[in-house]
């Protein structure tokens, strides 16, 4: 069985890779790149060559292409010590047209062109744009090499950068930060160095705290291994998709905080999350007063739950409610077929299947609102009542689905020989229903449990929008609207992984419930 499941998992992972590849083709190759600038005011203000350069820079940030300017190339040569400062200065000054170049410049331009063309880059030279012999606005001459990122390279780069392990060489070796080492302390300085609380800290690592304890579930935390699904560009700038989904929201929670310099104040900073940000203390008195090294980039603690947290709480409660209501109702409908409850239930099922989901969610909202339930979600409110309507709106359609299938399966089972046999053996109807028919009819229902639990995390698009829930459901549509390519890819990967895992878990659960089902090769 383990072997079979492993094979399934591997097949699943392969299809996940293909899905990511398809999504990359969709967003990087099919969509026009120009769309990125639709809401970008800076782009529309720029003119001529400057506009082109700005576009190149943005496209590189969004992950479309790689580009290198002639200036970067010369600086690079200078750093390597192949040219001295004076030569660099002189060579960088390219002429307005190629013919105007000095001999030295022409020589390096030729080298530049050869180096990059051999790597598949296209070298572009934009001549100066002039108006009445003067440079036009943004008309400075430009020279750069550019290359579209090929799909294979993009895929490889993406999948190899998902898991990163923090080492003491994570920060550029050229930056002088003192001895690079890992230190183990039994008294975490965040707690004043008096309370016993072991922690592993690093210097030279990306995170300052690699392993630490605090008072939040699961109490022990690590920063050694980081998962990166895709760094957001416009939805939540500079943050990873997972972080966007899991970081707390709402108003700040302040508590007395002791900073590394000994400065103490009421703050929401969570010092355990500190990451390195080079030169952050220079010219920033606030940070300089608080930190004694450049590990200053901290996450603030907020009162609300994360996007995924809200979605999961609502989703999981809705799923529980759906099973609690749907199973008994389905059984009752099958038990008293053609009775009143069965007929009413069928009308309800038809209503939910046929009517657009948007329509009945609004209907629930209107009905709930007239009972005085809050119809919009407010993160700062402590009222639990605001959870009621989103949960009910999510649960009621699932209830209908559950009723429909359970009723169908049970009625199909009712005509089986084993039921007749049980009846002839003298069992009463309740025993037949609950001990025999229900057990058999529930097997396909059991298969869906893992997926409904796991997909509770991803949230529901319409429900969250209608009730203004700050959940994860809208992340994908938001990313699409803002052309945040890496978020789209990250979210897709997350969904695809969930679906692969949930189907396998469903099969395992089904095989545990029903001993007749076996996935081992022998039985097949």
């Amino acid at each position: 069985m383990a072997k079979y499941l492993l094979k399934r998992l591997l097949f699943g992972l392969v299809s996940v890779v293909i899905v990511v590849a398809i999504v990359m083709v969709l967003i990087y190759s099919l969509l026009s790149r120009q769309l990125v600038f639709q809401q970008d005011d800076t782009y529309h203000k720029l003119n001529n060559n400057q506009k082109t350069m700005y576009a190149m820079r943005k496209w590189q940030e969004y992950g479309y292409l790689d580009y290198v300017t002639f200036q970067d190339y010369m600086n690079d040569l200078n750093r390597k010590g192949e040219v001295d400062d004076a030569t660099r200065e002189e060579a960088v000054a390219i002429g307005r047209k190629a013919e105007d170049d000095s001999e030295l410049t022409a020589e390096y331009v030729k080298k530049f062109t050869e180096t990059y063309e051999s790597q598949g880059f296209e070298v572009v030279r934009l001549n100066a744009v002039t108006a009445r012999r003067k440079l036009a606005s943004g008309g400075q001459q430009q020279l750069f090499a550019t290359r579209d990122r090929p799909l294979a390279q993009r895929l490889w780069g993406y999948f190899t950068s998902i898991v990163t392990i923090d080492t003491i060489h994570a920060i550029d070796d050229e930056i002088d930060i003192g001895p690079r080492e890992l230190t183990f302390t039994t008294h975490d300085p965040v707690y004043g160095g008096e309370k016993f609380s072991p922690a592993i800290m690093g210097n030279g690592t990306k995170h300052k705290y690699l392993l630490y304890f605090d008072n939040q579930f699961p109490y022990i935390h690590q920063n050694l291994v980081t998962i990166t699904l895709g760094t957001s560009y416009s939805v939540n700038q500079g943050k990873d998709v997972l972080e966007t989904m899991t970081v707390s929201q709402g108003s700040y929670v302040t508590r007395p905080t002791l900073y590394p310099t000994g400065h103490s104040e009421e703050s929401a900073d969570d010092l355990h999350t500190a990451t390195f940000l080079q030169g952050s203390r220079e010219g920033n008195q606030v940070l300089a007063n608080r930190f004694d090294d450049d590990y200053t980039n901290v996450v603030t603690e907020k009162a609300g739950m994360s996007k995924m947290g809200y979605s999961f709480v609502i989703g999981i409660l809705a799923t529980a409610l759906a099973y609690l209501l749907g199973l008994p109702l389905g059984i009752f409908m099958a038990r008293h077929k053609d009775g009143l409850v069965d007929k009413l239930g069928t009308i309800y099922i038809v209503f939910i299947i046929a009517v657009p989901s948007l329509a009945y969610i609004f209907l629930f909202k209107a009905v709930g609102g007239s009972f005085g339930l809050p119809t919009t979600f407010d993160m700062n409110s402590t009222s639990k009542l605001m959870y009621v309507l989103p949960i009910v709106s999510l649960a009621l359609p699932t209830v209908a689905n559950m009723m429909k299938w359970l009723r169908r399966y049970m009625i199909d089972q009712m005509n089986s020989d084993y039921v007749k046999f049980a009846r002839s053996g003298g069992l009463n109807e309740n025993e037949i229903f609950f001990k025999h028919i229900f057990k058999n009819a529930a097997i396909p229902i059991v298969h869906g449990i893992p997926s409904s639990v796991l997909f509770a995390m991803t949230g529901a698009i319409i429900t969250e929008r209608v009730y203004v829930v700050p959940g994860a459901g809208n992340l994908l549509t938001q990313a699409i609207n803002f052309y945040d390519n890496s978020v789209i890819v990250g979210v897709t990967l997350f969904y695809a992984l969930l679906s692969v895992v949930s189907i396998i878990l469903g099969d395992i659960l089904m095989a545990t419930v029903d001993p007749r089902i076996s996935f081992s090769d022998k039985a097949r």
């Binding site: 969509l31 989901s357 948007l358 609207n481």
Partner: protein
């Protein structure tokens, strides 16, 4: 012997009551003496036996009449009353008072002073057409491919891989990319909804085919040398009719719902459709006195989908030969 026969004649028994020789007739012996059974006739007989079906079918007729004939009878101009500030956001009673009694105004007026009733039917035409065309394309491709998928074991392996991949590409993403790449027109939407939409149907049909494929009567048929094509057409397709009709009954309304959903999240048609109407009127829902603008397209969309669903489901039930007894 002869003697005895003469004697019988002498008894005065009429000729009819006596035994006589019957010649064997090859043609006659092939005929089956049973009531004539026509499949489709029986389907409609069963369908119309239920009174509710006649009512629902009439409703469907009215809906089609309003969606396809009514818009061409009226002159609909959305912005005809744009400059008239008093014509906007009227409740039905106020609108009827203002414009005189006319069918167009019985649902009040909308944000640009247009008659809500007319707008709804103009939008319904687009939505219903979209649903019917998408369902037709998806069902055709889905049923044909699903049948092959169910029959061929080699194809099954390949198609399962394809299915696993396509099912995991986010639908919303695919549609929004297609809408952005092409234009947000009607045919783009049809393309976006059908480019992967058939996979689910094909998978469903595949499962059904596999269930019937290895039944004894098909095995017998194959042993007698029937070709796969004939088995598919004659042995399996009749079995599948009710399944296909039932599936179509859930598909058609689902496209209307899907269009509403897509419009709501901002990836809609450029033409006026039911979904776009609901999306645009959403803000009117929370304003007192304007709710009519929002609830009437929602209600009409719901009625259309429910009627289509019920007709389809009951037709599906009636096309199951087991109900023909």
């Amino acid at each position: 012997m002869n003697q005895e026969m003469i004697n019988l004649k002498g008894l005065g028994v009429p000729e009819k009551e006596l035994f006589s020789f019957v010649t064997h007739n090859d043609v006659e012996s092939e005929k089956i003496t049973a009531p004539r059974y026509s499949y489709w006739q029986s389907v409609f007989r069963v369908f119309f036996k239920k009174k509710i079906n006649i009512i629902v079918l009439c409703l469907l007729g009215v809906i089609f009449l309003f969606a396809y004939v009514y818009p061409s009878l009226i002159e609909y101009d959305r912005y005809a009353n744009l400059t008239d500030a008093t014509a906007k956001h009227l409740m039905p009673v106020a609108a009827l008072e203002k414009f005189g009694f006319h069918l167009s105004w019985i649902l009040g007026s909308g944000a640009s002073g247009e008659p809500t009733f007319d707008t709804i039917w103009v939008g319904s035409r687009i939505s219903i057409s979209l649903a019917l065309i998408c369902a037709l394309i998806n069902m055709t491709i889905g049923v044909l491919l699903g049948a092959v998928w169910g029959f061929s074991k080699k194809f099954d392996f390949f198609m399962m891989a394809v299915y696993n991949i396509i099912a995991n590409v986010p639908y919303v993403l695919l549609i929004s990319v297609l809408v952005l790449v092409l234009t947000a027109s009607f045919w783009t939407m049809v393309f976006a909804l059908t480019v992967t939409g058939w996979v689910g149907i094909a998978y469903f049909i595949r499962t059904q085919v596999i269930i019937i494929r290895d039944r004894e009567y098909n095995l017998a048929s194959r042993c007698l040398g029937t070709s796969i094509f004939r088995i598919a057409l004659r042995n399996i397709l009749p079995f599948m009719t009710s399944v296909i009709v039932t599936q179509a009954a859930t598909e058609i309304p689902s496209y209307i719902s899907y269009e509403v959903f897509l419009s709501y999240i901002g990836i809609g048609l450029s033409e006026m459709s039911l979904g776009k109407l609901i999306y645009e009127a959403e803000s009117a829902m929370v304003t007192t006195g304007w709710q009519f603008e929002f609830w009437s397209p929602v209600a009409v969309a719901s009625i259309i989908t429910v009627v289509l669903y019920v007709v389809g489901q009951n037709l599906g039930d009636a096309s199951d030969p087991r109900t023909h007894m």
